[in-house]
Symmetry: C2
Subunit: 184 residues, 2 copies
DNA sequence: GTTCACATGTAACAGGTTACATGATTGG
DNA sequence: CCAATCATGTAACCTGTTACATGTGAAC
């Protein structure tokens, strides 16, 4: 899914500025399955405007920088809803972390330990964030998506906690007698 | 992680052709966290060769098309192992599926039902594939990565199975009395 | 006074995908 | 004979990232 569709989809829920769309997809409640930068959002918004799928309104509040609030048009809404009828492509996961673990035999134990513990800590933080998002958010679809993310992150964290020792035992400088077996 | 590093990493385990690297990362045991196409693999391999990080050998077996088998050099090995010392970037998940579910209130129940059931079926197939990969594969690192993938996919499948009704009840044309609550 | 959050935008660049072009062998 | 699998490669294109450029007001 490209940034254009992402913007259209978010504007289909509520009007927003480019800045808000970015926050939502990088720090906000969609951040576990969406990513976008200013450099792609702003041009996308301009293009959607040119195509008549969204409208802009400039808001100038006293004591605040000017903001461009985008809202979806009927044409935009129609195009977006139509796009929902196409089957979604497969999820794409890119994990440098897993690739690192894959190569554990070329690293030393300390390095792997750090990598895994950092990851567990990161997952814990993300899970906590998502729990807050879910409590803050009334929207059923968002709650479903957040719950899905939480379930995956918890599974990842639990797997890492359970099998941490196996990965560490696989390091190049360990003489661990018998690495425990993977717990699945 | 770019395709260049991916190729180097795979060649660090064993020599391979471009074709094999692609199979491994698209259909093989790394496919759940890696993706690469011919259009990026072949140029990357050529470049690695130019840089002296890998060597090529052309194999001409009777009755089979010529193949270029790449193997890592000592320089390549050193560079790759050094690159493992950098902290891995965060995992990136892009999910058109979750975005679709997020928008369930703009779709009809039938559409959501199909999307979820298709996804559950796909996850089941992937999980089965990964179980086979794990049994076929002796390499500890790979087993760890496959186990991680399996854990995530199972969590996703279970979440979808458990909360399927919630998403469907959220469709635009349902008059479900009370959507069951999300089970977390 | 400096850092943070808000706010928009562009240009160069990197990276990768898609489609095309080619061709042998095997199995149904 | 046709489809699938093995096998390599290029060129046009698309998409998105990074870094830069600019500015305000609030809080500390």
């Amino acid at each position: 899914m490209n940034v254009r569709t992402l913007c259209l989809g978010i504007l289909n829920f509520e009007e927003a500025t480019g800045y808000e769309i970015k926050k939502l997809s990088v720090e906000g409640r969609f951040s576990h399955f969406i990513d976008a930068s200013f450099g792609s959002i702003y041009p996308a918004l301009t293009r959607l405007c040119d195509e008549g799928l969204v409208n802009v309104r400039v808001e100038q509040k006293d004591g605040k920088p000017a903001r461009k609030v985008y809202s979806i048009t009927e044409t935009g809404r129609a195009e977006f809803v139509a796009s929902l009828n196409k089957a979604p492509g497969p999820d794409k996961i890119k994990s440098e972390f897993l690739f690192l673990i894959l190569c554990s035999e070329f690293m030393d134990a300390e390095r792997i330990k750090t990598a895994i513990d950092d990851r567990i800590a990161w997952l814990d933080r993300e899970i906590e964030k998502m729990n807050e998002f879910r409590l803050d958010c009334e929207h059923t679809g968002s709650q479903f998506a957040i719950g899905y993310g939480t379930a995956l992150y918890e599974a990842a964290r639990d797997y890492l906690k359970t099998n941490r020792a196996v990965a560490i035992a696989n390091a190049n400088n360990t003489q661990m007698p018998d690495a425990a077996e993977l717990t699945l």
